[in-house]
Each structure stands twice: as C-alpha cells, then as structure tokens.
C-alpha cells in the first residue's frame, strides 16, 4: 500500500475571522488516479467533502484547476502526483490572490484586466461578418502560434512577483500575452491605439523580465517573450 501525504491550504469560507490553516491528507496512491486533481477528488469524495476547488475538463484545456502545487503554479489535472511517498506535496491556491475558499481565488480583477485590452479584432472599416474572408498569409498566421493557445488559467500572472506587488495597475503576463496576440495579428488595424492604451509606467513596464511566467506556463507558452515584443513595439511606434 502506498500512502501519500498531501497538505492543502484551507481557508475559512464559513466562519469569519477564522485564520487560514493547512490540512494534511494521506492518500493511498493505489486507489487514486495519477494526477493531482484525482487526489483532490478522492479527498473530497472520501475524506473531506468541504474541500473546495475549481475543475472542469480534466485534460488541461479549460484552465479551471490552476493552483500552486509543490511550489509552482500548474493545472492540477495534468500535474502528476510525485510517486515518492516519503515526501509531502503542498498544495496552495494561486499566490497573492484573494481567497474565496480553500483553493478558489477571486479571478474577477484578472478577467477585468483581460477585457481592458479589448481582445477582439478591430479594423478601420466596419466588419461585415461573413461578407469576405479576412485573408492572412501562412507566415502572418504563424506569428499567432504560441499566442492564441492561452487558456487564461492565470498560472503565469500569479507566478510573477511584479504582479504580486502591483496587480492593481500592472496587467501581468497572461493579459499582456493576449494583448500581443492582437498587436501581432495582421488582420487587426488598431495597433497604434492598442499601444497608446498601454503607455504608462505600470501596465507593461512593471515587467522586469523575471521570467517566472514562461517557466510555469502549463501550456508551454512564452509570455515573457511576448512582453519583450510589446516593449519593442512601444519603443518603435510611440
């Protein structure tokens, strides 16, 4: 029988004033699926039904189960449980976020920041949807590879110390990656306006190339590089 200890950050969802604390659970790995999400579900089903976390697709595409596992941010559903049973795995919510309960952070501001970069196609003329194809060469389309696949899980932004200290004004790697996705799209005409919207000391320039973001992205994307490209565009056009 293999026993595996898991410490999960529990915060007071019900009792106000109760201090957040850690709970430890022992999981028999023979009775459990291979991923951290499987363990969380086992704990919830068999040990503590009040354990609260977000989850949906269980295949690393929806971005719901993002949390801090073993010190780094990933998706629980594609994070394999460390088979070394002598070691504990610590699970925390995404860092420096306001916690609703247990492993559930309040993502409202993150999504508000995403909306603020106007993540949709904008052209000089009014778009008549379906009238014509907005054509793009294969080379132009290739630029979008590594940008469009973002699932907005927030692992990167919440791994960034700069975002920890300035999340009110700094947009963070996830939102900036998406901002670059639209800046780089050849079919979008509003590049200058998008860059002008970013022209202040905080929105982009709190990035100090720490690179925790690219290190932690569970989808293998590179927000650090995208932000560097934004800075180059800002220098060129503004």
């Amino acid at each position: 029988k293999q026993w595996y200890q898991r410490r999960v950050a529990i915060t007071a969802g019900e009792t106000p004033g109760e201090k957040p604390h850690m709970d430890t659970f022992k999981v028999d790995l023979n009775q459990c699926g291979p991923m951290v999400l499987d363990a969380l579900l086992l704990i919830k089903n068999q040990m503590d039904p009040t354990l609260t976390f977000r989850r949906s697709c269980r295949e690393g595409i929806c971005g719901s189960c993002s949390m801090n596992i073993g010190g780094t941010n990933t998706l629980a559903c594609i994070s394999r449980i460390d088979p070394d049973v002598t070691r504990e795995t610590k699970i925390y919510p995404l860092p420096h976020m306001y916690v609703v309960k247990d492993l559930v952070p309040d993502m409202t501001h993150f999504f508000e920041q995403y909306a603020s970069v106007q993540p949709w196609l904008q052209r000089d003329e009014k778009i008549e949807y379906g009238a014509t194809q907005l054509q793009q060469s294969p080379k132009e389309r290739e630029i979008l590879d590594g940008l469009y696949e973002c699932i907005l899980c927030a692992c990167c932004s919440t791994s960034c110390p700069s975002y920890w200290w300035n999340s009110d004004k700094y947009l963070g790697p996830a939102v900036l990656l998406q901002s670059y996705r639209w800046l780089a799209d050849s079919r979008d005409h509003k590049t200058k306006e998008r860059l002008e919207k970013l022209a202040d000391p905080f929105s982009v320039y709190r990035c100090h190339t720490i690179m925790n973001c690219t290190k932690t992205c569970p989808k293998g994307l590179n927000p650090g590089k995208a932000i560097a490209e934004i800075k180059k565009l800002m220098a060129k056009h503004l």
Binding site: A9, H109, S116, K169, P201, T209, I210, K232
Partner: protein, 151 residues
C-alpha cells in the same frame, strides 16, 4: 512624442481597468485572506537571478558611494586602508574578501548583458534562459576570483 510626454504615474483614482477600485474594496469588506506567495513559491533560477540583479545593483552602489564618501572623511581613503592592514589577515582571506567585494559588480554587469540581449528579443526560450542564467553565475564567480587574484 506627445504620448511619451503623458507617461506619468497613475494615481489610484485613475485606474485604467474599470472596476479595479470596486474589486479591492470588496475584498476588504469581505475580509478575505490573501494566498501565500513569497513564503511558498519555489525559488527558481529565473526569480533568484532576477532578485540578485536587484540586490547586486544596490550592493555595488552602496560600495561605490561608500568608497566615495570614505575619500572625504578625515584621513582619506589610505587611512582606512592602513587601519584594515593592521588586522593582517592571511593571503587566502584577503583573496576571498576581494572576490566577495567584486562579485556584486561583476554579476550585475554580466547579467546586465543578458538583460540587453532580452531587450532585443533574444534568448527567451526557457532552455535559453537557463543556459544563459547558469553561464552568468559561473562566469561571475570565475571573473570575480580572477579580478581578486590579479588586482
């Protein structure tokens, strides 16, 4: 350009993202705890080298200003050198101390070139970041020791 001239710090009443003030107020009202960050996040080469760049920058600036101020103090710089010489530590200790003094300056400079490469958009693949990172650490140690032994 006119856009650059409007670059100034935003005050909290000028949040560009609508709903920011409301969001933070709500968290305060609900009394929500903040999830841990520095205490739990795994130290990685990315973050450790970055903070070292900041630390070494402060460190060598202190050394620079400190050294400059010392020349203005009574007795001048040579007075303090002779004071230190009275301790007469071994050659090995002197070498180590010199290397430690040189390290922030050397590391900051070498990592500075890494930053300049990043500014051109080069070296952002995570494998490249780690390769250049370890190279920076290694070369900083070697160059510091070299400087300490030769100068």
């Amino acid at each position: 350009s006119s856009t650059l001239s409007s670059l100034r710090a935003l005050t909290s009443s000028e949040y560009k993202v609508p709903g920011t003030e409301k969001f933070f107020k709500k968290q305060e009202v609900y009394g929500r705890p903040m999830s841990p960050h520095l205490t739990i996040y795994k130290p990685q080469l990315t973050s450790m080298l970055s903070i070292s760049h900041r630390g070494s920058g402060v460190g060598y600036a202190v050394l620079l200003y400190g050294g400059a101020v010392m020349t203005l103090l009574p007795g001048g710089f040579s007075h303090y050198v002779s004071l230190a010489e009275q301790f007469a530590p071994g050659a090995g200790v002197i070498l180590a101390l010199k290397a430690i003094v040189a390290l922030p300056l050397v590391y900051h400079t070498v990592n500075g070139f890494r930053h300049l490469a990043w500014d051109t958009g080069k070296g952002f693949k995570i494998a490249e970041v780690y390769k250049s990172g370890w190279f920076t650490v290694g070369s900083s140690l070697v160059i510091s020791l070299l400087m300490a032994s030769l100068l």
